[in-house]
Symmetry: C2
Subunit: 422 residues, 2 copies
Amino acid sequence: MSQPRGPLSQLRRGHEELVLGLLRKHGPLSRGELGKLCRLSRTTLYDILAELVSSGAVVTATHQDDVPRGRGRPAETLTLNPDAGQAIGIDFARRAVHVAAVNLAHEIVGAASEPHDADLPWQQRVDLAERLIGSLSEGGLRLGALSAIGAGVVGPVGGPEAREDSPTAAQDGAGETAPHPAQVLLRERFGVPVLLDNNARLSALGEAIWGAAAGGQDVLYLRLSHGVGGGLVVAGSLHRGAYGLSGEFGHITVDPQGAPCSCGGSGCLETVASIRAVLDAYRAAGGRADDVPELVKAIKEGDATALGLLADVGASIGGVLAALCNAIGPSVIVIGGELAETGAALIDPIERTLRARVMPISRHRVSLRRATLGEAAGALGGIALVLHESPLLSRYPAGPDLAQETPRNENETSPMNDTRQS
Amino acid sequence: MSQPRGPLSQLRRGHEELVLGLLRKHGPLSRGELGKLCRLSRTTLYDILAELVSSGAVVTATHQDDVPRGRGRPAETLTLNPDAGQAIGIDFARRAVHVAAVNLAHEIVGAASEPHDADLPWQQRVDLAERLIGSLSEGGLRLGALSAIGAGVVGPVGGPEAREDSPTAAQDGAGETAPHPAQVLLRERFGVPVLLDNNARLSALGEAIWGAAAGGQDVLYLRLSHGVGGGLVVAGSLHRGAYGLSGEFGHITVDPQGAPCSCGGSGCLETVASIRAVLDAYRAAGGRADDVPELVKAIKEGDATALGLLADVGASIGGVLAALCNAIGPSVIVIGGELAETGAALIDPIERTLRARVMPISRHRVSLRRATLGEAAGALGGIALVLHESPLLSRYPAGPDLAQETPRNENETSPMNDTRQS
């Protein structure tokens, strides 16, 4: 159904797009929160909201209790209509593919995972992702409403090409690297823009929106897995750094005389705090464990060797986190990855060193939490990338180019796709 | 001169404001750069630019050679008309007031400083600032064109109230601290909004725009002075962190068994790399120097004690910077403060340790430079804060409140002040 095209309508639609864009990025918001973010006059905002609610694009909701928010809990919130569109995230981890889908009200529609060999070719990883996404459709996924895919991969991801049509791309240096195979293959397969980033960084974004740090604007996420890495959320957005190299917490030196690291350095945090480093050290000290569950079992049995080792590892991690806190100032630190399953045996010594070394003025302001999203974090972060950065809802789309990609047959429950302007 | 108020004109003015806002934030831009940032269609953009140039609001310029930019040097750039407005920055340092003024083309109109006792009351510091600003008017400063003041102060600055009408304030937690006296007094004196931040952080912003890292989007600035601190510029904007606590590089632990620090911690970088720490260590090792110039003299004379000491201090600094590089991924690190005047004796060992400990993949991507703005950096950073964040030019001003503050008698060379919308 076409809408009137006059200039007054266009001005009004500019305001509508602003409101819709904020709801897409932030999820449920009260009228007051929305007012502060959009800076429209109260009259204009309420007028626009009435129109959007009556058209069905925006719905009112009572805020769910399980999503903690910064400042109290407003009685009524507004969200985009959950039926108005869905976003898909994919995490191409080292040995598994994880997918998740979320609707525009920021509700998780479904998630699925499947492990694979580390050397599986990209073509087959993408096949696997497609199959997993297909399996979500039984849970209510409608691919017709898909506007973009956000995907995470292992290793550094940088340069504007990784973000395809991202509005921020223009501010970066010229891209020199070739597009990632996952990006090329996904785009061919689904015919929508594909936003790509490092999967540990995407996990940071996922935890900051749906997980342990939900609602946090400044979040540091550390993953203790086969590798040690993480990501930063800064002022609510994913931080990338120049050249896409950031969140490499595992390669911060904790002992200049330490063991050589896969990165080429020595004594990196990863050489003491990766799964392998911890298990090797445990066995060298006489312990017996072949994997993290066995280590967790030893801890539960009160094994002094395991506890002593984790206390040392935790102190190294806490020292790194304290330094980063002083520099960056997060409100929440989230610890994820398999080693976090060792629980208090690791988290307590991390916290002790963190509190001892962070500036006293920050000591009680930063909160240390275990990750809650598990292996879905990266895929959910990919979705967040779409909700935050996909250009289809931007208020100033690059006219002709975008118009070609914009589906013309969307019905009016999806007005955000119809944003062409001169 | 009033402009037509019809809806078509309003839509067009929305586009004009977008273009004007980008030029205000970024300074000189080529048509191509502007096109990427604004995402308007080429036709619309060129049309709007023609109008803005013909009205005098925007002028074309050949880009100055002394401002390095990321990607080549475009033949012709566009800037806001330098006569269309000016912004003032003030740095209330511990023992001096520094002021600077910049026009809307990002050209520095003037700068002035005056030292004072450390215990000078705020009333008199603001008097001094006013006098220094007055002295700039001989250099062409026109207070009538002033839209906001950006000011830096010592110590943590946090909470939305510090940013007054900042568009980002709504995303922060509730403010609990009282307004800073500098903010209150400046507002009374000049009758314009006052944006406040930590002065080391503002120096980071200043160096990232006009100084050693001009054009850099991701910049880490470290100041080695009586205190050790700094700031981060992330994706072109000042990074604050939750609670306004970020850039506290001086309180990162470099030796857990080290000397007690003023912050309450032990072995902080500041305990080895502040002016006093370095001079104390030099004298303890038998050297004779009462201030930095005397230390610099000893270095020039090849004093082995001084050189050995600075090599150790540099290694500590380099280790901290390498850790931060891996985490944050800046493209440029800027070293400022009086101790940077020791030159290669300090900078070379910093660089050696930095290169040795940063991830090999980043080793040749990050550039280490000495600051170039000297003591004007903080005041210039205050101006950048105004150019980036002052709400007067925002496209969605909070109608009635702002309208009361917006001068109604601006002539048409200052169309950006006239942004009222319903």
